[in-house]
Structures are given as structure tokens and as C-alpha cells.
């Protein structure tokens, strides 16, 4: 079932949680709402679920939520057919795992409530699905965080929802469990193909898990696209800064310029370090620190002329070959950069081709262009 949110705004008192946000999620997709806290992502999720209601919209047809083209704006949460998994699981503390999962089925009115045996068989099936077959009689307090998360998911799935919504599903778990659960959720999604939207502030999680990433900031959507696209073609300084580490260098008129008003962004893995000083335009930098106890080497540098810091990530073999010394002066080459004229930039400009983030004559080494 596809989800559409049209011109959604939401204010809490004088605080703007969502500012005229529109979003479309295709059937069967796994979508991430990614953003820092306060960006409005959870509010948007709760509005889709029917746990919050949007403000009245001035736009015709705005302020509405549609499931598969049908307006569900006035339906209460329980009638929308959504499964919702809360950040802190919200399991019923006094009920066994079995009863938790069965809850959605047992509260149905008499006519539509399945027979007791059928409920039991469906719950047992779900317990198998979440790999907690022998845990049916436990109380939630007796489970680990990851197990609780799976029970919360099974409880939401028990009513066979057409839409599955997860609020920070892995937020409260430690790193190891998080990784496992992420992989498991991906597999589950491939098996069930329920349209799924999850909220996260962890860019790695969003990029790794989702088919589509919705990057949100300050009550607005910044960019929507596949993980590869939002990472490689960010439309705004916010997106590039939020999705992973990035170096910021001041620029002006398409050239690096210490006091420039534009910003040049380079990912650390797009920075290469060279020893040969053949190119007189090459950027000179001093090695501050070399850190190689990782799957790649990290080098902290400082521009010789302006003192701007630069972080580089370099393959360990290459780092070994270079054999950098602290305080040594080297040449720095950028393989791929993005430029955002700060303050002048709009989304429309980019779409119309008015802006090119890699202007000719920009790069310090080998002239210009992307991927040198």
C-alpha cells in the first residue's frame, strides 16, 4: 500500500514541528526518515500513523494523509491498518510475550475476532518468525532489548498491517545487537514486503537499510532519493554534512579562498596525499596526526597557507607506502568535491542547472572537474 502525505504542517504551540511537508512512499518500499532530533521526522511518522493530526492546510487538498489514494486523514489510528513500533517498544509490562502479540487480535469486536485456536497458531507463527519460540510465557521485563524490539515488531505484525511504521527502531540498542537486528529487519522486509517507514537519526543505518532515504531538517524535507543518490548527489550543505564526515573549505569564485564565502565540501575518502611536488598549484598541507588502527588509515592535516583542517581517509597499504611523518609537508589532491555558494543556493537552482558544484578551474590539482 502506498502512502502519501500532502502539505503537512504541524505546530505545537509556537514550535513548528513540520512546515508544509509532502511525501510519497511507494508500495512495498523500505523508507527511512533521516534527520537530527527536532527535524520533525517522528512527528511525520506519527501523523501517518494517526497518533497526531496535522494542522489545517491552506493548500487545496493539503493537510491530508492518503493510503493507496484513499484519504485516511479522519480515520483514528486503530482503523488505519498500520503497525506501529515505538521507540521504547511500549510492550504491555503485565502481559506475557504471547499475550502482547495476541493483543491486537483479542481486542477485535466479536464478529471479526479470530477463534482462540487461530489466534494461538498465528502468535506461535510470529514467535517463530522473530526467533523467540520458547519465550511466549515470559514477561517483557525478562527479555533483552533486542528481544523486546522483536516482540514489539511481532505485535505490530499480528494484525497483518498494510503499512509498518517504526520509530527509531534500534535507537536504544547497543551497536552489535543493532547491526544484527538491522540485517534481520532487511531480510524480514524482503520476505513480507510490507510498505515500511522507519525513523532514524543514524545516517549509516538509513543508508544501509533503506530503499529510499528522506532527509529531514528543521521541519522540512531536504532531499528524497536512494541511498546512493543522497550520498553522492546531496542537494544542500545540510545533506552533505549530515550524511557522514566531510571537510569544509572556504572558497570564492570557484577557487579555494581562505576568506571566501562559498563552501567546498570534500569527503575524507576523496582526499589523496601525494609526496611529489610537481604541480605548483597543488594544495600544500602539513601532517598533524596519523591514525592507522582501523580498517583504513586516517590522517589529520592542516593547510599550510590558511590553517584549515583537512581529514583524509587512505587505504592502509597506501598509507604504509607513504610512510608519513608528523609535521611533514605534503600535496593534497581531491578526487571529488561539491561546492555550495552559501546563502545563494536553492533547490530550484540546482534542478535548472544554474549551479554546478564542480566549476572549472576550481581544483587545486590537475585543473578541474569531478573525479580527477
Amino acid at each position: 500500500m502506498s502512502i502519501e502525505a500532502r502539505n503537512i504542517s504541524k505546530h505545537f504551540g509556537s514550535y513548528t514541528a513540520l512546515n508544509n511537508v509532502s511525501l510519497k512512499v511507494e508500495t512495498g518500499r523500505l523508507t527511512a526518515l533521516l534527520g537530527p532530533s527536532g527535524s520533525g521526522k517522528t512527528t511525520l511518522l506519527r501523523i501517518i500513523a494517526g497518533l497526531e493530526f496535522p494542522d489545517a492546510s491552506a493548500e487545496p487538498g493539503g493537510g491530508r494523509v492518503l493510503f493507496h489514494g484513499e484519504d485516511v486523514s479522519h480515520k483514528p489510528a486503530g482503523k488505519r491498518g498500520v503497525g506501529f513500533v515505538f521507540q521504547h517498544y511500549a510492550l504491555f509490562k503485565h502481559m506475557s510475550v504471547f499475550d502482547n502479540i495476541a493483543f491486537g487480535l483479542t481486542v477485535r469486536p466479536g464478529k471479526t475476532r479470530p477463534a482462540r485456536a487461530e489466534i494461538a497458531s498465528r502468535v506461535n507463527e510470529l514467535l517463530r518468525l522473530i526467533q523467540l519460540e520458547n519465550y511466549g510465557s515470559r514477561l517483557p521485563d525478562q527479555l533483552s532489548g533486542g528481544q523486546r524490539q522483536r516482540v514489539a515488531l511481532a505485535r505490530a505484525l499480528a494484525m497483518q498491517p498494510k503499512v509498518l511504521l517504526l520509530d527509531e527502531p534500534f535507537g536504544a540498542l547497543d551497536a552489535q545487537v543493532r547491526k544484527e537486528l538491522r540485517r534481520w529487519l532487511r531480510q524480514l522486509h524482503e520476505k513480507l514486503h510490507v510498505t515500511t517507514v522507519f525513523v532514524t537519526h543514524d545516517q549509516e543505518e538509513a543508508l544501509e537499510l533503506a530503499d529510499e532515504v528522506v532527509v529531514m531538517n528543521q521541519a522540512r524535507i531536504e532531499q528524497v532519493g536512494g541511498p546512493q543518490m543522497v550520498y553522492d548527489q546531496p542537494v544542500s550543505p545540510f545533506v552533505i554534512e549530515f550524511l557522514g564526515n566531510v571537510n569544509r573549505l572556504a572558497a570564492a569564485d570557484g577557487r579555494l579562498h581562505g576568506s571566501g564565502k562559498d563552501v567546498l565540501y570534500v569527503r575524507p575518502h576523496d582526499v589523496d596525499i601525494q609526496r611529489n611536488h610537481s604541480d605548483e598549484h597543488a594544495l600544500r598541507a602539513r601532517v598533524l596526526h596519523v591514525f592507522s588502527a582501523s580498517n583504513y588509515g586516517r590522517v589529520s592535516l592542516e593547510r599550510v597557507d590558511t590553517g584549515e583542517p583537512i581529514e583524509a581517509e587512505i587505504a592502509r597499504d597506501r598509507l604504509h607506502d607513504l610512510d608519513l611523518k608528523q609535521g611533514e609537508e605534503v600535496s593534497v589532491v581531491f578526487r571529488h568535491v561539491r561546492l555550495f555558494p552559501r546563502g545563494k543556493f536553492t533547490e530550484a537552482d540546482l534542478r535548472n542547472g544554474q549551479l554546478s558544484e564542480t566549476r572549472p578551474g576550481y581544483l587545486p590539482a590537475h585543473g578541474a572537474g569531478e573525479n580527477i
Partner: protein, 313 residues
């Protein structure tokens, strides 16, 4: 996991680190001060009630309850509590539910109103009812028998008397015990939040189902304790009830008022005998509270024991 936790608990219990505890003389003198205080202000008065009551032996002790007026007082106290406690139970749950699960204008005002009976002296509470329902009060003329045109024949014939009668005592008791259940529940429900209720909503439960299947099981111990406290106060209230009662023997005397009358008549032994009834109520309240807490703890421990078994087999 549970295995680890119980191991930790074991270590914590049996191997206190010396560096973390105060020297022995500090610990023992603090314990002694606490014991002395408790003994002087709690145990001695408690013991003296029973000592005075049984001063003349077991026969006179029970004779105090055989008295017709004493029995009437006990009956009236039970009636007042039987009306006030269920009403305040329903009200307290409804108010706490509204305050903790919903956002609305005037919430702060409602909270202050609920706490009002705590802030107002019980004597003033009684006086309010006298001013409202007394013969010269605002509503008094409409309640007594007589011929006022507004309510017609039927109402006039009712001859409702509030002050110096059972309804006044019940009203005063309700007013004074108003906050107990809500005060017990509001902090509890605030801590629990509304996430479980939200989850139940998304699972399609109706308001009643959410209330009975999610909210009530979560608050049952707090609710029970609130009711026990409310009951203890309803039976023990003196000030407010004293003002509206009129002290008519055998008719409008509750247990505390009866104790006062007996005491003023220098019938000390009987006064303490009846007072021992209220003391027993207090003790039963404490015992009930402890049983509730103990059962709750045992349920949790049993649950984790089952957990450990599953891990070790």
C-alpha cells in the same frame, strides 16, 4: 542476562566494600537515634492506647463496644466510608486518567482543585457545608420542609436535612478524602507515560479495552494503596465531620467523635477502647500495604527465577 544480574546482586549484598561505608560508631549511633525517635514518637503512644484500653481487663474493654451509642457510631463510620471511598475511587481514577493521558486547557487548575482539600483546614471544610446547607445557609431554605414555590409539592415533602445528619457527614468525608486516590495515581501514571496506551490504540483497542486491559493492570497496586489510605482517612476524620455532625448520640456520631465524647466525660478506659479500634485500622492498613508490596516483589522474583531456570537447563 538474568543470571548476571542476580550474581551482581549477590556480590553487592555479601561483599560491601569497606571504603564505601562509614565507620561503625557513626552507623550504630545513627541507627540508635532513629530507633529512639521511632520508639518515643510511634511505639510508645501506640502501646499506651492499648494499655489504657485494657487497664481494667478484657471485660470492660468489650463492654465499651456493647454500648448502643458506640455501635451506632461504628455503623455510621462504616456507612460514611462505604459511600465516600467508592465515589472517590471512581473520581480519582477518572481525574488521574484525564490529567496524565490528555492535554487540555485548565489542567493546572484541575490539579490545584484536587489538592484543595489538603490545603484547607478540615474545620473550614465542615463550615463550608454548614454555610451551604445549614438552616440559614445558601441552599438551606430549599432543602428543608416548607412551602417554597420553586421545587413543588414533592420536593417539599422530602424534608432533606443535610447538616446535623448523615448526608452532611458523608459530604464532609467525601470532601476531605477527595485527593487521596488521585494523589497516589497521578505521579505513578506520569512515570508510566502513555506509550502503552498509544500502542493499544494502534492495535485497534477501544477506550474501555485500553482502560481495563492496559491502564488498570498497570496502576492496580497504586490504586489499592490509594484506596486503603482514603479509607483510613474516611474512618478517622475528625475536624470536618465534627462541625457538620451536631454530636447527636446514637445518630450523628462517628467513631472519632464518640471517642471525644467519652474522653470529655472522663470515661478514659472506654475512650481508649474505642480509639483502639481506629488504631487497629491503622495497623491493618500498614499490614495490607506491606502484603501488597511483598506479593508484588515475590511475583517479580518468581518471574526472574523462571528466567534463570530456562537459562540453566
Amino acid at each position: 542476562m538474568a543470571g548476571n544480574i542476580s550474581t551482581l546482586a549477590y556480590v553487592a549484598k555479601h561483599r560491601q566494600r569497606r571504603s564505601l561505608s562509614d565507620p561503625a560508631w557513626v552507623r550504630y549511633s545513627l541507627i540508635a537515634v532513629a530507633l529512639l525517635f521511632v520508639g518515643l514518637f510511634l511505639i510508645v503512644p501506640l502501646a499506651s492506647v492499648f494499655a489504657e484500653a485494657l487497664k481494667k481487663g478484657i471485660g470492660p474493654y468489650f463492654a465499651a463496644f456493647a454500648d448502643k451509642d458506640a455501635q451506632a457510631a461504628i455503623r455510621l463510620t462504616l456507612v460514611a466510608a462505604a459511600i465516600a471511598v467508592p465515589l472517590n475511587l471512581v473520581f480519582g481514577v477518572a481525574a488521574s486518567w484525564a490529567i496524565t493521558k490528555f492535554e487540555f486547557r485548565g489542567k493546572a487548575l484541575l490539579i490545584s482543585l484536587i489538592e484543595l482539600p489538603f490545603a484547607v483546614s478540615p474545620v473550614i471544610s465542615g463550615l463550608i457545608y454548614v454555610l451551604l446547607f445549614g438552616a440559614q445557609g445558601w441552599l438551606g431554605p430549599y432543602l428543608g420542609s416548607g412551602d417554597h414555590p420553586w421545587f413543588g409539592e414533592w420536593f417539599n415533602s422530602l424534608d432533606i436535612q443535610v447538616i446535623f445528619a448523615v448526608p452532611g457527614i458523608v459530604l464532609a468525608t467525601i470532601f476531605v478524602t477527595f485527593p487521596f486516590v488521585a494523589r497516589e495515581l497521578i505521579p505513578l501514571m506520569q512515570v508510566q507515560g502513555k506509550e502503552e496506551e498509544m500502542a493499544a490504540i494502534t492495535l485497534g483497542a477501544t477506550g474501555w479495552q485500553i482502560f481495563w486491559r492496559v491502564t488498570v493492570p498497570n496502576i492496580k497496586w497504586g490504586l489499592f494503596y490509594g484506596v486503603v489510605l482514603c479509607n483510613a482517612r474516611a474512618m478517622g476524620e475528625f475536624g470536618a465531620v465534627s462541625v457538620v455532625s451536631g454530636h447527636i448520640r446514637g445518630q450523628t456520631n462517628t467513631i472519632p467523635l464518640h471517642v471525644e465524647i467519652l474522653y470529655n466525660e472522663y470515661n478514659t478506659q472506654a475512650a481508649f477502647a474505642v480509639a483502639s479500634l481506629l488504631t487497629l485500622l491503622a495497623l491493618i492498613t500498614l499490614v495490607l500495604k506491606n502484603i501488597v508490596e511483598w506479593r508484588h516483589r515475590r511475583a517479580v522474583e518468581a518471574a526472574s527465577a523462571a528466567d534463570i531456570r530456562q537459562f540453566t537447563t
